[in-house]
């Protein structure tokens, strides 16, 4: 397949993915934005006023980066896992499997689709946060880089989940029992300085902790983690997850009998 043909195939998958989540915007864009809006009102505004400062910032300022990142992570993941599994469930994935589209183009198409939704919801949440606090970004390159890389990581992870999933239950187990606890324990609502040494150490094992804090560094200019170390972890995760996806696609796991 020639490069321009591959690009057309890639563009086709991306457009199809974006068309899918925008067609069902009441399920894909509104609920996450509404949920984060409630976090702003309840935790940021009502509870946050009583908390005062966290990590040297007003509590509302402190949680905004974490909540934006939370929406990016959840939506990147859930877009890929639900879309790819739906294609599997309806057998429409066979359309692309019988065509000459290379595996890496299929993967990149779905990942970019997941990123589009993750970043789209992230942008909505960012716009909503402006109603509650002034958001001035301290380091634009780091902010953009970390949000893009995080979105890639969770889109890839969602793809692996979808490959192994055999039922709709299987696509909700990981987000409910793995992703949500990791996000909540990843420093979205608190600074790691508040934790005793043992839980500080446990937090250091949570990759989402590095993503949230690096994003917070980009926006507020302050972080609990080393930024270079965070980017190294992100890149390492991307390489490992990408290789796993390609290996599974080549093997036909969950797709070919």
């Amino acid at each position: 397949m020639f490069t321009n043909h591959k690009f057309i195939a890639f563009e086709t998958i991306v457009v199809r993915e974006i068309r899918r989540f925008t067609r069902i915007w009441l399920q894909t864009l509104v609920p996450p934005a509404m949920m984060i809006g409630l976090y702003f009102v309840i935790f940021g505004n009502l509870v946050g006023r009583r908390i005062g400062e966290m990590g040297g910032f007003q509590y509302m300022e402190f949680i905004v980066p974490g909540l934006i990142m939370m929406s990016v992570i959840q939506n990147s993941y859930s877009n890929v896992v639900s879309s790819f599994f739906s294609h599997k469930f309806q057998h429409s994935i066979e359309e692309v499997l019988v065509s000459p589209v290379p595996n890496y183009v299929i993967l990149c198409g779905f990942v970019v689709g997941g990123m589009a939704r993750g970043l789209g919801v992230g942008a909505i949440v960012t716009a909503m946060s402006l109603f509650f606090t002034d958001l001035s970004i301290q380091n634009i390159p780091i902010t953009i880089a970390v949000v893009l890389l995080t979105s890639i990581v969770f889109s890839l992870a969602g793809f692996i989940n979808a490959l192994f999933a055999n039922s709709f239950d299987d696509i909700s187990i990981v987000p409910t029992f793995v992703l949500t606890p990791l996000i909540y324990l990843g420093g979205v609502f608190y600074s790691v300085d508040l934790l005793p040494p043992f839980w500080k150490f446990i937090s250091a094992l949570n990759p989402i902790f590095y993503m949230v804090n690096t994003f917070r560094y980009g926006i507020l200019g302050s972080s609990d983690v080393n930024v270079v170390w965070s980017f190294s972890i992100l890149l390492l995760f991307i390489v490992i997850l990408y290789c796993c996806c390609i290996f599974l696609l080549r093997r036909g796991t969950g797709l070919r009998t």
Binding site: Q90, E95, P100
Partner: protein, 306 residues
């Protein structure tokens, strides 16, 4: 003539231990209209799955237009269009989007994809439905949409897995005409069907598969010539007398009612001889039909190992 499909010693054992294919070898010439017949679970869909790379083979080799499907993945896929047994497009997408998306997977520029999309949707009578969601289509329309989708990149080889299942007779006949037309234009077609009349009407060559093995692979003409007798039902204008005997050695009759008889004619006897005899006996025949489809008769006897 170039070989469109060459399958050698193809074996497939599923994870549950089921041996679906037991060393299948098959050659299909370019331009052929080929029937792959067999009872349910015989291995037809597994062969199609291997050809379309949806099923990983356990052993053997498969070539499409002389190129190995394992080593020339992209070239062989470009030559192949598949119409599966089950509906496999998104039920939430519009008819036109389904065909355009498929064109995109084959790297077709938008202008060409739009032109081909219109061409095939018009040919298959779906152009008026182009902006409707696919779930609103009838069963027959869904089947036609799958054919349009499979043809949008104009493959040299089209595989149809029971394309007319559940389709009414009028639509089935219009699909036969369409398939004959694209076959006449050079597309090699492999058809699996449970309607043996369909295979007899359309196909020039045939293979019968049973329990994962090819038990017959010949031309339709040669296969039908194997029939040693044919059974007809004749409707007569005049009343048939009791104990009616046609008086021919290689033909037997059985009275069904006063105006119809069952006639069994052996292969050695011409139908002309039978009608001459009816003339002599002053029996006027109004109508005549095969009691069972000829291919059906042979198919069943092959499966029984006769």
């Amino acid at each position: 003539m170039t070989t469109a499909i060459s399958i050698k010693n193809l074996g497939k054992t599923y994870a549950n231990g089921l041996e679906a294919l037991k060393g299948v070898s098959l050659e299909i010439e370019q331009g052929d209209f080929f029937a792959l017949l067999g009872p349910n679970g015989a291995g037809k869909s597994t062969i199609i799955g291997v050809l379309s790379t949806l099923v990983n083979k356990s052993s053997g080799s498969v070539e499409i237009f002389g190129k190995n499907v394992d080593t020339h993945v992209y070239e062989t896929k470009l030559d192949l269009g598949v119409v599966p047994q089950e509906v496999n497009f998104s039920q939430f997408e519009k008819v036109r989007d389904i065909v355009m998306t498929q064109a995109g997977y084959y790297g077709m520029p938008r202008a060409l994809a739009t032109e081909r999309c219109e061409k095939y949707l018009r040919k298959l009578g779906l152009w008026e439905k182009r902006d409707e969601r696919s779930r609103s289509l009838s069963g027959g329309m869904k089947r036609r949409l799958m054919i349009a989708r499979a043809l949008v990149h104009e493959p040299r080889l089209l595989i149809l897995d029971e394309p007319t299942a559940g389709v009414d007779i009028e639509l089935r006949r219009s699909m036969w005409e369409f398939l004959t037309e694209i076959n006449n234009n050079g597309t090699t077609i492999v058809l699996t069907t449970h309607y043996l009349e369909e295979a007899e009407q359309l196909c020039r060559n045939i293979a019968i598969i049973d329990e994962g093995k090819i038990i017959e692979n010949t031309s339709m003409r040669e296969l039908l010539a194997e029939l040693d007798s044919q059974t007809f039902i004749l409707d007569t204008a005049s009343k048939i007398p009791e104990n009616f005997d046609i008086g021919l050695e290689c033909a037997t009759v059985r009275k069904i009612d006063d105006h119809s008889i069952e006639l069994v004619v052996s292969g050695e006897l011409s139908i002309n001889d039978v009608f001459s005899q009816f003339d002599k006996l002053e029996v006027k025949v109004d109508g005549m039909r095969n009691k069972t489809n000829r291919l059906e008769q042979l198919f069943l006897s092959k499966l029984k190992g006769e």
